[in-house]
Protein backbone atom coordinates (compact mmCIF):
# COMPACT_ATOMS: atom_id res chain seq x y z
CA UNK A 1 0.00 0.00 0.00
CA UNK A 2 1.34 3.42 -0.93
CA UNK A 3 -0.44 5.34 1.80
CA UNK A 4 -0.81 3.88 5.28
CA UNK A 5 -2.54 5.85 7.99
CA UNK A 6 -3.03 4.95 11.64
CA UNK A 7 -3.98 7.99 13.70
CA UNK A 8 -5.53 8.98 16.99
CA UNK A 9 -6.50 12.47 18.01
CA UNK A 10 -8.72 13.79 20.75
CA UNK A 11 -11.22 16.42 19.63
CA UNK A 12 -13.71 18.39 21.73
CA UNK A 13 -16.76 16.26 20.93
CA UNK A 14 -15.21 12.90 19.99
CA UNK A 15 -11.92 11.13 19.38
CA UNK A 16 -10.55 10.36 15.96
CA UNK A 17 -9.27 6.81 15.89
CA UNK A 18 -8.79 5.49 12.42
CA UNK A 19 -6.59 3.26 10.36
CA UNK A 20 -6.69 2.74 6.62
CA UNK A 21 -4.48 2.37 3.59
CA UNK A 22 -4.68 3.29 -0.06
CA UNK A 23 -2.93 1.64 -3.02
CA UNK A 24 -1.26 3.54 -5.85
CA UNK A 25 -3.41 5.08 -8.60
CA UNK A 26 -6.52 4.68 -6.46
CA UNK A 27 -9.04 7.27 -5.41
CA UNK A 28 -10.11 6.72 -1.85
CA UNK A 29 -13.24 8.52 -0.76
CA UNK A 30 -13.78 9.41 2.88
CA UNK A 31 -17.48 9.83 3.27
CA UNK A 32 -19.59 10.74 6.25
CA UNK A 33 -21.84 13.39 7.71
CA UNK A 34 -20.55 16.93 8.24
CA UNK A 35 -18.51 17.35 11.38
CA UNK A 36 -17.40 13.74 11.56
CA UNK A 37 -13.67 14.50 11.41
CA UNK A 38 -13.00 13.85 7.71
CA UNK A 39 -11.28 17.18 7.09
CA UNK A 40 -9.22 16.83 10.27
CA UNK A 41 -7.99 13.44 9.07
CA UNK A 42 -6.99 14.99 5.75
CA UNK A 43 -5.24 17.86 7.54
CA UNK A 44 -3.31 15.38 9.67
CA UNK A 45 -2.16 13.54 6.55
CA UNK A 46 -1.05 16.88 5.09
CA UNK A 47 0.83 17.79 8.27
CA UNK A 48 -1.34 20.82 9.01
CA UNK A 49 -2.49 19.21 12.25
CA UNK A 50 -0.64 16.81 14.47
CA UNK A 51 -2.13 13.49 15.60
CA UNK A 52 -1.59 12.54 19.22
CA UNK A 53 -0.59 9.01 18.30
CA UNK A 54 -0.03 7.00 15.18
CA UNK A 55 1.86 6.64 11.99
CA UNK A 56 1.54 8.05 8.49
CA UNK A 57 3.62 6.45 5.76
CA UNK A 58 3.53 7.46 2.11
CA UNK A 59 5.60 5.83 -0.65
CA UNK A 60 7.73 4.14 2.04
CA UNK A 61 8.59 7.44 3.73
CA UNK A 62 7.47 8.00 7.29
CA UNK A 63 5.75 11.37 7.47
CA UNK A 64 4.61 10.94 11.03
CA UNK A 65 5.43 8.46 13.73
CA UNK A 66 4.60 9.34 17.32
CA UNK A 67 6.69 6.51 18.78
CA UNK A 68 9.82 7.64 16.89
CA UNK A 69 8.95 11.33 17.24
CA UNK A 70 8.97 11.88 13.50
CA UNK A 71 6.83 14.73 12.19
CA UNK A 72 7.75 15.89 8.70
CA UNK A 73 6.44 19.44 8.07
CA UNK A 74 3.82 19.95 5.32
CA UNK A 75 6.42 21.70 3.15
CA UNK A 76 8.38 18.45 2.82
CA UNK A 77 5.50 16.02 2.34
CA UNK A 78 5.02 16.74 -1.39
CA UNK A 79 1.27 16.76 -1.38
CA UNK A 80 -1.30 18.51 -3.49
CA UNK A 81 -4.12 19.86 -1.37
CA UNK A 82 -7.33 21.32 -2.75
CA UNK A 83 -9.32 23.02 -0.01
CA UNK A 84 -13.08 23.18 0.44
CA UNK A 85 -13.29 26.85 -0.52
CA UNK A 86 -11.21 28.80 -2.92
CA UNK A 87 -7.76 29.35 -1.52
CA UNK A 88 -6.05 30.78 -4.56
CA UNK A 89 -3.71 33.65 -3.86
CA UNK A 90 -5.77 36.77 -4.61
CA UNK A 91 -2.78 38.95 -5.53
CA UNK A 92 -1.63 36.58 -8.28
CA UNK A 93 -3.02 35.86 -11.73
CA UNK A 94 -4.38 32.42 -12.60
CA UNK A 95 -1.09 31.58 -14.32
CA UNK A 96 1.02 32.73 -11.37
CA UNK A 97 -1.19 30.78 -8.98
CA UNK A 98 -0.59 27.57 -10.89
CA UNK A 99 3.11 28.36 -11.33
CA UNK A 100 3.44 29.28 -7.62
CA UNK A 101 5.21 26.07 -6.64
CA UNK A 102 5.72 24.44 -10.02
CA UNK A 103 9.23 23.15 -10.67
CA UNK A 104 8.71 23.34 -14.43
CA UNK A 105 6.98 26.33 -16.08
CA UNK A 106 6.23 24.35 -19.23
CA UNK A 107 4.04 22.02 -17.24
CA UNK A 108 2.02 25.02 -16.11
CA UNK A 109 1.02 25.80 -19.67
CA UNK A 110 0.12 22.14 -20.26
CA UNK A 111 -2.02 22.06 -17.12
CA UNK A 112 -3.82 25.29 -18.03
CA UNK A 113 -4.58 23.82 -21.46
CA UNK A 114 -5.61 20.48 -20.00
CA UNK A 115 -8.11 22.15 -17.66
CA UNK A 116 -9.32 24.65 -20.27
CA UNK A 117 -8.34 27.75 -18.33
CA UNK A 118 -5.43 28.89 -20.51
CA UNK A 119 -7.49 31.85 -21.77
CA UNK A 120 -7.82 33.09 -18.16
CA UNK A 121 -4.10 33.03 -17.45
CA UNK A 122 -3.78 36.78 -16.86
CA UNK A 123 -6.94 37.20 -14.81
CA UNK A 124 -7.04 37.52 -11.06
CA UNK A 125 -9.00 34.77 -9.20
CA UNK A 126 -11.87 37.08 -8.20
CA UNK A 127 -12.55 37.76 -11.88
CA UNK A 128 -13.24 34.13 -12.84
CA UNK A 129 -16.13 31.82 -11.98
CA UNK A 130 -16.23 29.39 -9.06
CA UNK A 131 -15.72 26.37 -11.32
CA UNK A 132 -12.75 27.98 -13.02
CA UNK A 133 -11.23 28.83 -9.65
CA UNK A 134 -11.48 25.21 -8.51
CA UNK A 135 -9.97 24.04 -11.82
CA UNK A 136 -7.11 26.42 -11.14
CA UNK A 137 -6.79 25.06 -7.57
CA UNK A 138 -6.50 21.50 -8.93
CA UNK A 139 -3.89 22.68 -11.48
CA UNK A 140 -1.98 24.40 -8.68
CA UNK A 141 -1.97 21.19 -6.62
CA UNK A 142 -0.89 19.05 -9.59
CA UNK A 143 1.81 21.49 -10.73
CA UNK A 144 3.80 20.66 -7.63
CA UNK A 145 4.15 17.05 -8.87
CA UNK A 146 2.68 15.63 -5.68
CA UNK A 147 3.11 12.12 -4.32
CA UNK A 148 -0.39 12.27 -2.90
CA UNK A 149 -3.40 14.39 -3.81
CA UNK A 150 -5.82 15.44 -1.08
CA UNK A 151 -9.18 16.89 -2.08
CA UNK A 152 -11.36 18.32 0.67
CA UNK A 153 -14.90 18.67 -0.69
CA UNK A 154 -13.48 20.63 -3.61
CA UNK A 155 -16.81 21.10 -5.36
CA UNK A 156 -19.10 21.69 -2.40
CA UNK A 157 -19.40 25.44 -2.95
CA UNK A 158 -20.31 25.10 -6.63
CA UNK A 159 -23.73 24.91 -8.25
CA UNK A 160 -25.08 21.48 -9.20
CA UNK A 161 -24.28 21.64 -12.91
CA UNK A 162 -20.72 22.89 -12.45
CA UNK A 163 -20.17 20.34 -9.72
CA UNK A 164 -21.31 17.52 -11.98
CA UNK A 165 -19.11 18.75 -14.82
CA UNK A 166 -16.01 19.01 -12.62
CA UNK A 167 -16.74 15.66 -11.02
CA UNK A 168 -16.77 14.05 -14.47
CA UNK A 169 -13.53 15.83 -15.37
CA UNK A 170 -11.93 14.55 -12.18
CA UNK A 171 -13.06 11.04 -13.02
CA UNK A 172 -11.21 11.25 -16.34
CA UNK A 173 -8.18 12.84 -14.67
CA UNK A 174 -8.04 10.10 -12.05
CA UNK A 175 -7.20 7.55 -14.74
CA UNK A 176 -4.14 9.60 -15.71
CA UNK A 177 -2.73 10.01 -12.22
CA UNK A 178 0.02 7.74 -10.98
CA UNK A 179 -0.36 8.49 -7.27
CA UNK A 180 -3.11 7.94 -4.70
CA UNK A 181 -5.89 10.45 -4.19
CA UNK A 182 -7.87 10.97 -0.96
CA UNK A 183 -11.19 12.63 -1.51
CA UNK A 184 -13.43 13.91 1.27
CA UNK A 185 -17.13 14.38 0.65
CA UNK A 186 -20.54 13.96 2.29
CA UNK A 187 -22.20 13.54 -1.10
CA UNK A 188 -22.92 9.86 -1.71
CA UNK A 189 -23.48 10.35 -5.47
CA UNK A 190 -20.13 12.05 -5.84
CA UNK A 191 -18.51 9.23 -3.88
CA UNK A 192 -20.05 6.54 -6.06
CA UNK A 193 -19.00 8.18 -9.29
CA UNK A 194 -15.40 8.69 -8.23
CA UNK A 195 -14.44 6.06 -5.68
CA UNK A 196 -12.12 3.12 -6.11
CA UNK A 197 -12.47 2.56 -2.39
CA UNK A 198 -14.60 4.14 0.31
CA UNK A 199 -14.36 4.61 4.04
CA UNK A 200 -17.48 5.78 5.86
CA UNK A 201 -16.49 7.96 8.82
CA UNK A 202 -18.78 8.92 11.68
CA UNK A 203 -17.48 10.72 14.77
CA UNK A 204 -13.87 10.03 13.85
CA UNK A 205 -14.24 6.28 13.39
CA UNK A 206 -14.93 3.98 10.49
CA UNK A 207 -18.61 3.12 10.68
CA UNK A 208 -19.62 0.46 8.14
CA UNK A 209 -23.21 0.57 9.35
CA UNK A 210 -23.55 4.18 8.30
CA UNK A 211 -23.59 3.16 4.64
CA UNK A 212 -26.26 0.55 5.27
CA UNK A 213 -28.24 3.11 7.23
CA UNK A 214 -28.11 5.50 4.28
CA UNK A 215 -29.20 2.75 1.93
CA UNK A 216 -31.97 1.53 4.19
CA UNK A 217 -33.19 5.06 4.60
CA UNK A 218 -33.77 5.01 0.85
CA UNK A 219 -31.69 8.12 0.38
CA UNK A 220 -29.94 6.60 -2.54
CA UNK A 221 -30.96 3.66 -4.58
CA UNK A 222 -27.87 4.27 -6.65
CA UNK A 223 -25.63 2.96 -3.89
CA UNK A 224 -27.33 -0.44 -3.77
CA UNK A 225 -27.51 -0.86 -7.53
CA UNK A 226 -23.86 0.19 -7.96
CA UNK A 227 -22.66 -2.04 -5.13
CA UNK A 228 -24.50 -4.98 -6.64
CA UNK A 229 -23.32 -4.16 -10.13
CA UNK A 230 -19.72 -3.59 -9.08
CA UNK A 231 -18.92 -5.78 -6.13
CA UNK A 232 -15.28 -4.71 -6.55
CA UNK A 233 -16.24 -1.40 -5.07
CA UNK A 234 -14.99 -2.53 -1.74
CA UNK A 235 -14.79 -0.50 1.36
CA UNK A 236 -11.16 0.29 1.91
CA UNK A 237 -10.84 -0.05 5.66
Amino acid sequence: MVLQVIIKKRLKCFDIEISFSCPDEQLLVMIGPSGSGKTTILRMIAGLEKPEEGQIICHGKTWFDSSRRIDIPPQKRRIGYVFQDYTLFPHLSIYDNVAFAAPDRKEVDDLLDRFCIAHLRNRKPHLVSGGERQRCAICQALARRPQLLLLDEPFSSLDVLTRRKLRDELKVLKEELSFPVCYVTHDIHEALVLADGMIPIVNGRIEPDWMQHIVRGGQTALLTSRTVREPGLALAY
Binding site: P74, Q75, Y81, T87
Partner: protein, 238 residues
Protein backbone atom coordinates in the same frame (compact mmCIF):
# COMPACT_ATOMS: atom_id res chain seq x y z
CA UNK B 1 24.21 69.85 4.98
CA UNK B 2 23.73 71.56 1.64
CA UNK B 3 20.01 71.16 1.92
CA UNK B 4 20.08 72.34 5.50
CA UNK B 5 21.98 75.50 4.62
CA UNK B 6 19.63 76.14 1.71
CA UNK B 7 16.67 75.91 4.03
CA UNK B 8 18.33 78.21 6.53
CA UNK B 9 18.52 80.94 3.92
CA UNK B 10 16.08 83.66 4.92
CA UNK B 11 13.14 84.40 2.66
CA UNK B 12 13.82 87.99 1.75
CA UNK B 13 10.53 89.15 0.25
CA UNK B 14 9.01 91.61 2.70
CA UNK B 15 5.63 91.14 1.11
CA UNK B 16 5.49 87.46 1.93
CA UNK B 17 3.37 87.75 5.08
CA UNK B 18 6.36 89.04 6.99
CA UNK B 19 8.12 85.68 6.90
CA UNK B 20 11.52 87.24 6.43
CA UNK B 21 14.25 85.42 8.30
CA UNK B 22 11.83 82.53 8.70
CA UNK B 23 13.74 79.38 9.70
CA UNK B 24 12.44 76.27 7.96
CA UNK B 25 15.14 73.98 9.29
CA UNK B 26 12.86 72.54 12.04
CA UNK B 27 10.43 71.49 9.31
CA UNK B 28 13.28 69.76 7.47
CA UNK B 29 14.37 68.01 10.71
CA UNK B 30 10.78 66.89 11.30
CA UNK B 31 10.52 65.46 7.78
CA UNK B 32 13.90 63.75 8.10
CA UNK B 33 12.96 62.30 11.49
CA UNK B 34 9.62 61.05 10.16
CA UNK B 35 11.23 59.39 7.17
CA UNK B 36 13.97 57.72 9.20
CA UNK B 37 11.51 56.50 11.85
CA UNK B 38 9.04 55.23 9.26
CA UNK B 39 11.74 53.33 7.35
CA UNK B 40 13.19 51.75 10.49
CA UNK B 41 9.78 50.75 11.82
CA UNK B 42 8.56 49.29 8.55
CA UNK B 43 11.55 46.95 8.43
CA UNK B 44 11.48 45.86 12.07
CA UNK B 45 7.77 45.90 12.84
CA UNK B 46 6.64 43.67 9.98
CA UNK B 47 8.26 40.47 11.33
CA UNK B 48 7.20 41.39 14.87
CA UNK B 49 3.59 41.90 13.77
CA UNK B 50 3.74 38.58 11.87
CA UNK B 51 4.88 36.72 14.98
CA UNK B 52 2.27 38.41 17.18
CA UNK B 53 -0.48 37.82 14.63
CA UNK B 54 0.10 34.11 14.10
CA UNK B 55 2.02 32.69 17.03
CA UNK B 56 0.96 31.62 20.45
CA UNK B 57 3.55 31.62 23.19
CA UNK B 58 3.56 32.21 26.93
CA UNK B 59 3.79 35.88 27.82
CA UNK B 60 2.57 37.06 24.41
CA UNK B 61 -0.08 39.31 25.97
CA UNK B 62 2.47 40.81 28.37
CA UNK B 63 4.90 41.61 25.54
CA UNK B 64 2.18 43.06 23.34
CA UNK B 65 0.90 45.28 26.15
CA UNK B 66 4.43 46.47 26.86
CA UNK B 67 4.97 47.39 23.20
CA UNK B 68 1.69 49.33 23.18
CA UNK B 69 2.46 51.17 26.41
CA UNK B 70 3.85 54.32 24.67
CA UNK B 71 0.41 54.85 23.16
CA UNK B 72 -1.20 55.43 26.56
CA UNK B 73 1.63 56.82 28.68
CA UNK B 74 1.96 60.60 29.13
CA UNK B 75 4.84 61.82 26.91
CA UNK B 76 6.60 63.24 29.98
CA UNK B 77 6.63 59.83 31.68
CA UNK B 78 7.90 58.17 28.54
CA UNK B 79 10.40 60.98 28.01
CA UNK B 80 11.69 60.62 31.56
CA UNK B 81 12.38 56.90 31.13
CA UNK B 82 13.91 57.49 27.72
CA UNK B 83 16.29 60.02 29.28
CA UNK B 84 17.21 57.45 31.91
CA UNK B 85 17.91 54.58 29.50
CA UNK B 86 19.58 56.82 26.92
CA UNK B 87 21.72 58.64 29.47
CA UNK B 88 25.39 57.73 30.05
CA UNK B 89 24.41 55.25 32.79
CA UNK B 90 21.43 53.82 30.92
CA UNK B 91 21.73 50.60 28.95
CA UNK B 92 21.10 52.14 25.52
CA UNK B 93 23.22 55.21 26.20
CA UNK B 94 26.05 53.03 27.48
CA UNK B 95 25.98 50.77 24.40
CA UNK B 96 25.83 53.83 22.12
CA UNK B 97 28.80 55.44 23.86
CA UNK B 98 30.87 52.25 23.66
CA UNK B 99 30.17 52.00 19.91
CA UNK B 100 30.36 55.65 18.82
CA UNK B 101 32.16 57.31 21.72
CA UNK B 102 29.51 60.02 21.94
CA UNK B 103 26.29 60.75 23.79
CA UNK B 104 22.90 59.70 22.49
CA UNK B 105 20.96 62.42 24.28
CA UNK B 106 20.56 65.76 22.45
CA UNK B 107 21.48 64.22 19.09
CA UNK B 108 19.47 63.33 16.00
CA UNK B 109 20.02 59.56 16.43
CA UNK B 110 18.76 60.03 19.99
CA UNK B 111 15.47 61.62 18.95
CA UNK B 112 15.18 59.05 16.15
CA UNK B 113 15.50 56.23 18.68
CA UNK B 114 12.89 57.89 20.94
CA UNK B 115 10.57 58.39 17.96
CA UNK B 116 10.93 54.72 16.99
CA UNK B 117 9.96 53.58 20.51
CA UNK B 118 7.03 56.04 20.73
CA UNK B 119 5.69 55.21 17.26
CA UNK B 120 6.08 51.43 17.48
CA UNK B 121 2.44 50.82 18.52
CA UNK B 122 1.23 52.96 15.62
CA UNK B 123 3.09 50.69 13.22
CA UNK B 124 2.32 47.45 15.00
CA UNK B 125 -1.45 47.73 15.35
CA UNK B 126 -2.45 48.30 11.68
CA UNK B 127 0.12 45.77 10.47
CA UNK B 128 -1.00 43.10 12.88
CA UNK B 129 -4.64 43.75 12.00
CA UNK B 130 -3.81 43.49 8.28
CA UNK B 131 -1.93 40.21 8.80
CA UNK B 132 -4.78 38.77 10.87
CA UNK B 133 -7.26 39.59 8.12
CA UNK B 134 -5.52 37.16 5.77
CA UNK B 135 -7.37 33.86 5.50
CA UNK B 136 -5.32 31.33 7.44
CA UNK B 137 -5.96 28.76 4.73
CA UNK B 138 -3.92 30.89 2.33
CA UNK B 139 -0.93 30.35 4.59
CA UNK B 140 -1.68 26.64 4.85
CA UNK B 141 -2.03 26.49 1.10
CA UNK B 142 1.45 28.05 0.80
CA UNK B 143 2.87 25.55 3.30
CA UNK B 144 1.52 22.51 1.46
CA UNK B 145 2.87 24.01 -1.76
CA UNK B 146 6.30 23.80 -0.15
CA UNK B 147 6.92 27.37 1.04
CA UNK B 148 8.73 27.93 4.32
CA UNK B 149 7.31 30.37 6.87
CA UNK B 150 9.76 33.03 5.71
CA UNK B 151 8.88 32.56 2.04
CA UNK B 152 5.18 32.60 2.93
CA UNK B 153 5.71 35.90 4.74
CA UNK B 154 7.28 37.57 1.72
CA UNK B 155 5.26 35.89 -1.05
CA UNK B 156 1.81 35.69 0.53
CA UNK B 157 1.46 37.77 3.70
CA UNK B 158 3.15 41.01 2.59
CA UNK B 159 1.46 41.29 -0.85
CA UNK B 160 -1.95 40.61 0.68
CA UNK B 161 -1.64 43.19 3.44
CA UNK B 162 -0.09 46.03 1.52
CA UNK B 163 -2.92 48.44 2.46
CA UNK B 164 -2.36 47.82 6.16
CA UNK B 165 1.38 48.28 5.75
CA UNK B 166 0.96 51.59 3.92
CA UNK B 167 -1.59 52.72 6.54
CA UNK B 168 0.93 51.86 9.27
CA UNK B 169 3.66 53.83 7.47
CA UNK B 170 1.42 56.87 7.10
CA UNK B 171 0.33 56.77 10.75
CA UNK B 172 3.93 56.53 11.93
CA UNK B 173 4.97 59.37 9.65
CA UNK B 174 2.18 61.62 10.92
CA UNK B 175 2.81 60.70 14.54
CA UNK B 176 6.47 61.66 14.15
CA UNK B 177 5.61 64.94 12.44
CA UNK B 178 3.55 65.88 15.49
CA UNK B 179 5.80 64.43 18.21
CA UNK B 180 6.73 66.96 20.87
CA UNK B 181 7.06 66.06 24.56
CA UNK B 182 9.36 63.07 24.33
CA UNK B 183 11.56 64.69 21.68
CA UNK B 184 11.92 67.85 23.78
CA UNK B 185 13.00 65.84 26.81
CA UNK B 186 15.38 63.58 24.90
CA UNK B 187 16.76 66.01 22.34
CA UNK B 188 16.19 69.49 23.67
CA UNK B 189 16.03 72.18 21.04
CA UNK B 190 19.28 72.25 19.08
CA UNK B 191 18.68 73.98 15.77
CA UNK B 192 19.40 71.75 12.78
CA UNK B 193 19.85 68.71 15.00
CA UNK B 194 16.96 68.09 17.39
CA UNK B 195 14.67 71.10 16.99
CA UNK B 196 11.65 69.75 15.15
CA UNK B 197 8.69 71.73 13.80
CA UNK B 198 6.47 71.19 16.85
CA UNK B 199 9.21 72.45 19.19
CA UNK B 200 9.84 75.44 16.90
CA UNK B 201 6.12 76.31 17.05
CA UNK B 202 6.13 76.01 20.83
CA UNK B 203 9.19 78.26 21.10
CA UNK B 204 7.74 80.79 18.67
CA UNK B 205 4.55 81.04 20.74
CA UNK B 206 6.58 81.32 23.95
CA UNK B 207 8.49 84.25 22.49
CA UNK B 208 5.23 85.82 21.21
CA UNK B 209 6.34 85.31 17.61
CA UNK B 210 2.86 84.32 16.41
CA UNK B 211 3.59 84.87 12.75
CA UNK B 212 6.35 82.31 12.69
CA UNK B 213 4.19 79.91 14.70
CA UNK B 214 1.30 80.40 12.27
CA UNK B 215 3.42 79.81 9.17
CA UNK B 216 5.05 76.70 10.60
CA UNK B 217 1.67 75.37 11.73
CA UNK B 218 0.20 76.07 8.30
CA UNK B 219 2.99 74.04 6.72
CA UNK B 220 2.06 71.01 8.82
CA UNK B 221 -1.68 71.06 8.13
CA UNK B 222 -1.64 70.17 4.39
CA UNK B 223 0.96 67.44 4.94
CA UNK B 224 -1.08 65.84 7.71
CA UNK B 225 -4.35 66.27 5.81
CA UNK B 226 -3.09 64.61 2.63
CA UNK B 227 -1.63 61.69 4.57
CA UNK B 228 -4.82 61.23 6.59
CA UNK B 229 -6.82 61.23 3.36
CA UNK B 230 -4.57 58.43 2.16
CA UNK B 231 -5.14 56.42 5.35
CA UNK B 232 -8.91 56.80 5.06
CA UNK B 233 -8.83 55.79 1.41
CA UNK B 234 -6.80 52.68 2.23
CA UNK B 235 -9.14 51.78 5.08
CA UNK B 236 -12.12 52.16 2.78
CA UNK B 237 -10.51 49.97 0.13
CA UNK B 238 -9.62 47.21 2.56
Amino acid sequence: MLRSSFLRRPISSKRSMGINKMDFVPLYVSLKLSMVTTSVLMVFTAPLAYVLAYSRFPGKLLIESLINLPMVLPPTVLGFYMVIIMGPKGIIGHVWRSVTGGSLLFTFPGIAFAAVVCSLPFALQPMKAAFQKIDRRLLESAYVLGLSRMETFFRVVIPNSINGIVAAAVLVFLHCMGAFGVLLMVGGSLSGETKVASIAIYEAVESMNYREAAIMSLCLIPISYVFLLLVNKLNEES
